[in-house]
Symmetry: C2
């Protein structure tokens, strides 16, 4: 394997300008899925991929997620592209996921360059919308296949592909297709790899094995039949804002402790293996201070900060709908106010149990207020947390690949947010899922000046290939 | 006096259709002071009044409040019209105030009729914008002078007039003019009467002797340098919304008790005279329930409810600027949030003392949170409460006039809001000020379908005249 990998790495080095031209070609297609006017560009990007799959002799089929309504217009959803490169029963079958749509971008938002023209700057950063999220990683898989073909090397695994064009706009229709294909296109899959997140820092690759879930709530308090003037009615009515503020203040302490009884009960204890993974992580408080542009962090060390981000639940108060929210001074008693908050959940918390705790507690606290107002709680959406075992061969293979390409052991990370498709794959296929990022923390995936470093793109292409080689040596 | 008053009342009865035609004429002038496009109509209304003053041989001068900027346009402010009807040193000089501008009104807001066309309905209600606020009362004074002239009756007092055209838009420039004229146009004034508020209920006239003040605050809590995603940063930073919610929840209890130490200390004790004035008031809990379109009142009887409205302070939380306030579910940690609240103050509270209590308490409470965020308190505006003695001859005369016209003793009321010009007159002239309303509680001054009942207009015209007659019999 060593000789084959060496040949592969050399080929990638040799072809890097080709890869960059290819990235230039796809960045030039403004496949913004959330813009009605640009929806045809998402289809164009899908066609570009189909042409590429054909060129590389990758078998593929399209799945049609149907239509949806956006800004009052009924629109066709771009196809989910299912690919299969090899169907050798003697090899592992690895499912890779990527998305070919991108976030919106306008030069006037503050981009230094034209967002849909790939520009390499003096630091070797490849600037352009979609460079890192998620066109670079998609090309990484395809570049690897091309390099193997040029070398006449047998591909180490069967590659099963799932590319969608709606990730930045809610992945409409994708879940149904994944569930439907679990016993279809995906039936032979042994493990899943998603390359659509980022290193923890700037220098060290990581494998991501966990994501938090979310339970998003609204608490509505309703009092008078209409907004009242505080001069005329202040001091005569139960004011909904007063009740709501009392309730919201009871949910979380100023130090981030969730005050809802029962919520912390199901938090999985810290294992020795997990604990041991923290000290070496490419992260420090300065990184965090820089990211938040302030120093108001809850913890005085980076380990507690990272645990706060991804392995413990948190509760954030987002705002209040229905109250006076404009600048200036309005003397209104709002008639109905709706507090919004969400709980980021972690294993082994379950949405149903969170719901029960939240409802009981808020109802109890509201009862204590002895208010004549009406209160109602609603869960707007809930997603489960996800965690994978990083002792699984899927992770072990990826870790070895990182060592081969970068000469270091990867960081084992989780993320504080959610990537819903991760859980869908795990639940539908019941296989280990790995998040294997290509880009860095500073890539600015959803911001202006999105970039992918040349080195991340080229070494990342090697990494994805090496990971598949490493996988072929494991049995699971 | 009785014969003269009888003749005056008869004349008013006889001329009522003339008065209604006059009201129709002025309602047809859409003198909306807060609408750039309608500003010329405010001037037109001012010219209508000047023509009327000339016709009635009332001496007058204009004062120019200058210009102001509204919606980015520099606009001329409509003139303050100063009138003098009689300058006999043997008579009392009574200053009457009114405003000739109106609130905005559009048919499509839900008006049953064209807002700027006076319509009398089957119930004898004169519907139209400005009918009750404040064109009806202004005409009341002028109708009275006309009636006296027709009868060849000597006018009982010297009438000093102050009509402004910016009341519904902050009375810009008025205070300076009042202060400047204290020793000028207003130098001989013995008492002041403002007819620009409403009866407490539907059936019984009232004299209004008190208004609450207001101290309006914003509390800003600033944390991260920019809004953060709650997935990535929830659990790692001190969230400004958490701190702010804790502070706001400490200001007022769900039962309306202000929790800021020291705030209640200066509340004037209830006197026996005031206490005795409540039981007979034309008000019940149903009136309040109807006004708020709900039953979430703090008190179980109308006396406590009225005291809550106007003789005790109250604290209302108006809303939060900078937090997520739209419908839907956004997972943001807002970087800077600004809570808005105000305290309605009563005698003998003073803004400086309120400020000191608020600042000390909030600073102490914020310190207890041990937050790394920054907090700042600012008083956006402050107005003092006002209360007059209803044993003053100005009130005694008005009460006698009510008995003459309506055959009942008036309610002695206060209001929960503020009418800033009241305090300006009192402080600048150091004379007793009386609020003598013409319209009813249900007139809908700032709402759709504003109206003035024909009986309130006609009996109100008698009342204003009778009040001046009664005043002439008192020495003070
Ligand atoms: Zn992505
Ligand atoms: Zn993205
Ligand atoms: Zn008014
Ligand atoms: Zn008004």
């Amino acid at each position: 394997m060593d000789a084959q990998l060496k040949a592969f790495f050399d080929q990638v080095n040799k072809d890097q300008e080709i890869y960059i031209e290819r990235l230039r070609e796809v960045v030039a297609i403004p496949s913004v899925s959330s813009d009605v006017a640009l929806r045809p560009q998402v289809f164009r990007m899908g066609e570009w991929l189909q042409k590429e799959l054909k060129r590389l002799n990758i078998e593929y089929e399209l799945r049609d997620p149907g239509t949806h309504v956006m800004d009052g217009v009924t629109l066709q959803l771009p196809p989910v592209i299912l690919g299969a490169y090899g169907r050798d029963p003697a090899k592992k079958t690895i499912l890779v996921y990527g998305h070919y749509d991108v976030q919106p971008a306008l030069k006037e938002d503050g981009w230094a360059t034209e967002p849909f023209e790939l520009v390499e700057n003096a630091k070797g950063e490849l600037l352009g919308r979609g460079s890192t999220d998620d066109k670079g990683p998609i090309l990484g898989w395809l570049n690897g296949i091309e390099a193997h073909q040029k070398l006449g090397l047998e591909f180490p695994v069967n590659l099963c592909i799932c590319f969608e064009g709606m990730e930045e706009n809610g992945s409409e229709g994708l879940d149904d297709i994944i569930v439907a294909e679990a016993k279809g296109w995906f039936k032979d899959v042994d493990a899943v790899c998603i390359s659509d997140n980022y290193w923890l820092g700037e220098t060290k690759p990581c494998l991501t094995y966990g994501l938090r879930g979310i339970s998003y709530y609204k608490v509505a308090v309703k009092g008078p039949g209409r907004d009242l003037h505080s001069g005329v009615f202040g001091g005569t009515v139960h004011e909904p804002m007063t009740d709501l503020t009392h309730i919201l203040s009871k949910l979380v302490s100023p130090h981030g402790q969730i005050l809802i009884p029962g919520i912390m009960d199901d938090v999985a204890p810290l294992t020795d293996a997990e604990k041991a993974s923290y000290p070496s992580l490419d992260f420090c408080l300065d990184t965090l201070h820089c990211a938040i542009d302030a120093k108001n962090t809850l913890h005085d060390n980076h380990i507690d900060a990272l645990m706060g981000r991804w392995r413990y639940p948190s509760l954030s108060l987002h705002g209040i709908e229905g109250a006076f929210s404009a600048p200036g001074a309005k003397t209104v008693i709002p008639a109905k106010v709706i507090g919004k908050f969400s709980i980021r959940s972690v294993p082994n918390m379950v949405p149903e149990k969170i719901d029960a705790c939240v409802n009981k507690y808020i109802n109890d606290e509201f009862a204590k207020l002895c208010s004549k107002n009406q209160m109602e709680i609603e869960c707007l959406h809930a997603g489960k947390p996800w965690v994978a075992s990083f002792e699984h061969p899927n992770y072990v293979a990826a870790a070895s690949a990182v060592e081969r390409v970068f000469g270091v052991k990867p960081d084992m990370t989780r993320e504080g947010g959610s990537i819903p498709v991760t859980l869908t794959f795990q639940d539908a296929l019941n296989k280990n899922v790995l998040l294997l990022p290509m880009g860095r923390s500073s890539d600015g995936a959803h911001s202006i000046n999105e970039k992918l470093d040349r080195s991340n793109y080229i070494e990342g292409t090697k990494l994805l290939g090496a990971y598949l080689w490493e996988l072929s040596t494991h049995t699971f």
